[in-house]
């Protein structure tokens, strides 16, 4: 055998080995549960986008109630003796402030969940690179900072879960990015489960009397009706009828409280669907067969959020 033939044979052997290695690695990746199907990734991405849009809604419910209650208290102040009116003014301002603080607590909870949604979006990006990996890491750190702030505001003890997701991202990069992206996504979703549930549960507890059984907005309407009586009496005592624009104002407040009820119900229901969709998401990243269920859950969540956003837009007009 000539020297040339020997070199040819060695090169051939090297090529075959390289090809075999590539096939073996491909087989490993395909068989590995970390690889997510395009459909799975799409659903996680859709969930993340819906979750981001949901963000400010629960806090808005509490602020809407606080503002409408404040308007009602102003009417009552106008029919009280001066010293009682001054006392109610102070108390009502403080109460409104307290409600805004509760709304800020819900906002903070949703801010954490929003950052989590951004992390999921990054981890499901089709053009995932080292740079997006670093971005995901930053989201992970922002989640932890957000959880600390939420615990301060609420006195709760939600566990941080961002850095766990970030460390999973750190471990990926380089070759086989798709495979490793799926692995990081799974780690992020699985590790977030407990804290996401707790954040949603605590926000739902605050929203419950507004959304689940609509107690507060109904009470607001009853109070509006009865507040009209001493107000009418004041005008009549002065020998005048109640001006029509005052009556019109009452009508608007009455209608606004109905919109408040509706927004509260939609936001509360969406929170429940958020929780359900996330639970399905955790299952779906583990077991591919659950994809149909996750699609249904994400769709239901998305449709509630869409309806709530449309109503909010209408209320802002």
């Amino acid at each position: 055998m000539t020297r040339l033939n020997m070199l040819d044979l060695r090169a051939m052997a090297q090529r075959s080995f390289g090809g075999l290695l590539a096939v073996l690695m491909l087989l490993m990746l395909v068989g590995c549960p970390s690889v997510m199907t395009t459909n799975q990734v799409e659903q996680v991405n859709k969930f993340a986008k819906t979750a981001e849009a949901y963000g400010p809604l629960p806090g808005d419910v509490l602020r809407t109630y606080a503002d409408q209650k404040w308007a009602l208290d102003l009417v009552d102040m106008s029919t009280l003796e001066p010293d009682d009116a001054a006392e109610l003014f102070k108390l009502s301002s403080e109460s409104r402030q307290e409600m805004y603080q509760e709304a800020a607590q819900v906002d903070q909870s949703l801010a954490v969940l929003n950052t989590y949604a951004s992390l999921l979006k990054t981890l499901t990006a089709s053009d995932y690179t080292e740079a997006t990996g670093k971005e995901a890491q930053r989201f992970g750190e922002a989640i932890d900072t957000g959880v600390v702030k939420y615990n301060e505001l609420s006195g709760s003890s939600v566990s941080s879960f961002g850095s766990i997701a970030a460390s999973a991202v750190q471990a990926i990069g380089g070759m086989y990015i798709r495979h490793k992206q799926g692995k990081a996504l799974k780690a992020a979703v699985t590790n977030a489960e407990k804290s996401v549930n707790q954040l949603l549960k605590e926000s739902m507890e605050l929203m419950e009397p507004y959304g689940a059984d609509d107690k507060h907005f109904v009470a607001l309407r009853s109070s509006l009706q009865t507040s009209l009586i001493p107000l009418t009496d004041s005008w009549n005592s002065a020998g005048e009828p109640v001006p029509l624009d005052v009556v019109e104002w009452f009508r608007e407040q009455y209608l606004s409280s109905y919109q408040g009820s509706k927004l509260a119900k939609l936001s509360y229901d969406a929170a429940k669907k958020y929780q359900a969709a996330h639970e399905k998401l955790v299952e779906a990243v583990e077991v591919k067969e659950n994809l149909v269920e996750i699609i249904g859950s994400v769709e239901a969540f998305a449709s509630d959020v869409e309806a709530a956003l449309a109503l909010k837009k209408q209320m802002e007009k």
Binding site: D73, T79, L80, E81, K215, A219, I229, D233
Partner: protein
């Protein structure tokens, strides 16, 4: 959090407050405005019934209402319905305060 007791107390206080507000006319306006304000404070304290501070507010409002109610019973016979509603609301608030205090004690032990 004793949520059902909270909502029950809130409902009774609101009923009493609305009744008082609807009767706040003419000669009895001044007297009933004081009752209205006490019920307003009670409603607000229940709404924010998560802190020790709100427990104190509820207790103070309940004590004040008990006194006012005794006066209502003595002086204004035709306001018996108001007195009854205020009494019911005050009792519900007392129950809520007891539950919350016990829950707080339990939390301190745990």
């Amino acid at each position: 959090m004793a949520n059902s007791e909270k909502m029950q107390a809130l409902m009774l206080v609101r009923e009493a407050k609305n009744l008082v507000n609807s009767l706040r006319t003419g000669d009895r306006k001044k007297t009933l405005s004081k009752v209205f304000l006490s019920l307003w404070k009670m409603e607000d304290a229940i709404m924010h019934a998560t802190t020790k501070q709100s427990l104190g507010k509820m207790k103070r409002a309940a004590t004040h209402l008990k006194k006012v109610n005794a006066e209502l019973n003595k002086n204004i016979v035709e306001l018996k319905e108001v007195a009854d509603k205020v009494k019911k609301a005050t009792e519900a608030v007392k129950l809520l305060v007891n539950i919350l205090e016990n829950a707080a004690k339990l939390a301190a032990i745990v």
